[in-house]
């Protein structure tokens, strides 16, 4: 009983010390933190973390957090850096170097090279007088007053503090970038969304009667009926062999009305977009989503190698909350 109590007491002391280490950071956060955030937001490059041992592991975790929340990030091992990995660093990048002491030899050795490359350097470090702090453009003080492990055998409070500061940075960046749920989903293709995005388009596209289709010689009015009936905001225009010739969207119809006033009897060829974006039915859903987002379109014709229409997909259906209505059981 006594031994267990001592164990629990010790565990509580460790948690108390580590909690205090984080609490101490609160008052210490200052203008240099804001400058670091602005530096990252203004950067055209990536945020590259570097560090040795457990500081390196902390760097990898912060890197992963930044990547999953929309800030491109990499990890550079200081030893591998001088054996070729420095090639990953560009002048547009920001390097965040993590070392509690700020004297870690491998890290200090690459600082002049990094500065020579023109990168901006931020130190996550506990000693403002250390070479790392002095060589960096910004010094973020993650120093702690007490470690929770005897004899410096393993860093404890100091790595916890660095990790917490990294989380603070990531969260502030999320808010400043107005990162939203959709963005988060894009960077988390694991789970159900991952399943969705990794399957082939032909397995989820609308097919058969669900495809809004008109022939090239049909009128605009007939096209409007088709768009309205199929409720995808667009209709594909094809020839007799179902070869895709164009697409007519709600926007095309609106613009035609403004231009010609009376469009009911016009041939659809007059108002259709003649070079529609399209995708092969064998491609993955993720590629369709990327194509639609990059071109700011919400529907995408699906074709085979001969450009014959095989189906159509809608962005909202691909990213929406509902599960896919798989072909045949729509």
């Amino acid at each position: 009983m006594g031994r267990v109590s001592r164990l629990i007491q010790q565990a509580r002391e460790v948690l108390q010390i580590e909690a205090q280490g984080i609490l101490d950071l609160i008052e210490r956060i200052g203008p240099e933190f804001e400058q670091a955030v602005e530096m990252i937001l203004d950067s055209k490059g990536r945020v590259i973390f570097t560090g040795i041992g457990k500081s390196g592991l902390v760097g990898r975790k912060i890197m992963a957090t930044l990547n999953s929340t929309g800030t491109p990030s990499l990890f550079l091992h200081p030893v591998e850096a001088v054996h070729g990995d420095l090639g990953m660093v560009t002048a547009d990048d920001i390097v965040i170097a993590i070392s509690n002491s700020g004297y870690t030899r491998e890290l200090v050795n690459i600082l002049p090279i990094l500065k020579n490359l023109g990168v901006k350097l931020i130190a996550f470090c506990g000693d403002p007088e250390s070479p790392l702090a002095k060589e960096s453009h910004l010094f973020i003080n993650v120093g702690v007053e007490r470690e929770a492990c005897p004899l410096g055998l393993a860093p404890t409070t100091s790595t916890t503090a660095a990790l917490a500061m990294g989380d603070a940075l990531a969260v502030v960046l999320i808010n400043r970038k107005q990162f939203n749920r959709k963005d988060f989903k894009r960077f988390h293709p694991g789970g159900s969304l991952g399943d969705r995005l990794s399957i082939k388009i032909k397995e989820v596209m609308f097919t058969g009667d669900r495809i809004p289709l008109v022939a090239i010689d049909q009128t605009v009015m007939e096209t409007i009926f088709e768009v309205d009936k199929k409720k995808l905001g667009a209709s594909l225009v094809v020839d007799n062999s179902l070869i895709l010739l164009g697409i007519v969207t709600d926007g095309d119809i609106r613009r035609a009305l403004l231009h010609w006033k009376d469009i009911a009897g016009l041939e659809v060829a007059k108002i259709m977009s003649k070079s529609p974006k399209m995708i092969d039915e064998e491609k993955k859903v993720s590629e369709a989503v990327t194509l639609m987002e990059h071109n700011a379109i919400s529907v995408l014709p699906v074709v085979d190698k001969l450009k014959r229409v095989k189906g159509i997909v809608h962005l909202h259906e691909l990213l929406g909350g509902k599960e896919f209505r798989v072909n045949g059981i729509q």
Partner: protein, 316 residues
């Protein structure tokens, strides 16, 4: 000369070598400092514990500072305990020592080491330090040791500096460090109180605490009188100052063994550290006498286990 920052690392709570007439053992002091200086980041003189400061006359204190300063010659900072049994005596000690350093134009760093609750209550402490710091050009290290205050057997007297008082004291620029003994909760509160002064160091005054959960400022060590090299290695390792050595295959094992050795050592000298350590230093021919002040109780034992332990483990 006002230092910007107190040193980080190992502060040796030096014994005061006395000869059999009760004067400073000059040869012993020199030998001891020669042994300890290469490993220490600061030396504490005339402390209430190892330095037997409460049993040293003002003349002896003056003599001790004069001789130690002549030997140290500014190589590392000197901490000197100035607390007397009253405000007046503390001020008197400070004035005398200040004059001494001035007369010798001492160029090294000196910190006045003061245990405020030894002679003053929490009430009015801020004003007291405002006055005290005006009378000197040297910075201060505060010593919070409830055990020391309890020795005075003054009922109802608080034995810890109140956190709110410490927060006020932190506004005084000449206060550069705190040496702390007490609970983890209290040290956390003290740390919060000092948050606005990141330049103020908080050292562990308790070796056991440091060996378990090291303060990143450093430690006040008793055992470093006899094992300065090992204490230096353990302190540096604990403060993350030996990162390059970590790559050596048996580094962690060595540090672990050193830590264990220091704990074992402490169990031997802990019952009466001054007498036991002085006796061993005599056995090792480092000091000439194991004379103590009347404030230190003699501690007789058949064989000095500590000396045997030091020899067995080849401690230097």
């Amino acid at each position: 000369m006002e230092s910007n920052k107190a040193p980080k690392g190992l502060i040796v709570d030096l014994i005061t070598p006395l000869d059999d007439k009760g004067d400073i053992d000059n040869g012993g002091l020199g030998s001891l400092l020669k042994r300890v200086l290469p490993y220490a980041d600061a030396i504490l003189l005339a402390s209430p514990q190892m330095g037997e400061g409460s049993g040293l006359s003002l003349t002896l204190k003056t003599e001790l500072l004069k001789k130690a300063a002549a030997f140290i010659q500014g190589r590392i900072p000197i901490f000197f305990w100035i607390s007397g049994d009253s405000v007046e005596n503390t001020e008197k000690t400070l004035a005398l020592l200040e004059d001494l350093l001035k007369s010798y134009s001492y160029k090294g760093e000196v910190f006045w080491f003061d245990s405020p609750l030894y002679y003053h209550s929490n009430r009015g402490l801020y004003d007291h330090y405002q006055d005290l710091t005006l009378n000197t050009k040297y910075p201060f290290v505060l010593y919070n040791d409830p055990g020391l205050v309890n020795l005075l057997e003054r009922p109802l007297k608080r034995c810890n500096i109140r956190t709110s008082i410490l927060k006020n004291l932190a506004e005084i620029g000449k206060i550069k460090a705190l040496i702390f003994r007490g609970s983890l909760t209290r040290v956390n509160n003290y740390q919060k109180a000092l948050n606005r002064r990141p330049d103020v160091r908080v050292y562990d005054g308790d070796e056991d605490r440091f060996l378990e959960y090291p303060s990143m400022s450093g430690v006040l060590s008793i055992g470093a009188n006899i094992a300065p090299r090992i204490w230096s290695n353990v302190t540096k390792a604990s403060l993350g100052m030996l990162e390059e050595d970590r790559e050596k295959g048996d580094y962690l094992h060595q540090i672990w063994e050193m830590g264990k050795l220091l704990k074992d050592l402490k169990t031997i000298y802990n019952p009466n550290p001054v007498w036991t350590i002085k006796k061993s230093l005599v056995d090792l021919n480092i000091i000439g006498f194991h004379a103590c002040t009347s404030a230190t109780q003699p501690y007789y034992e058949k064989d000095n286990i500590l000396t045997g332990f030091i020899s067995t483990h080849a401690i230097d």
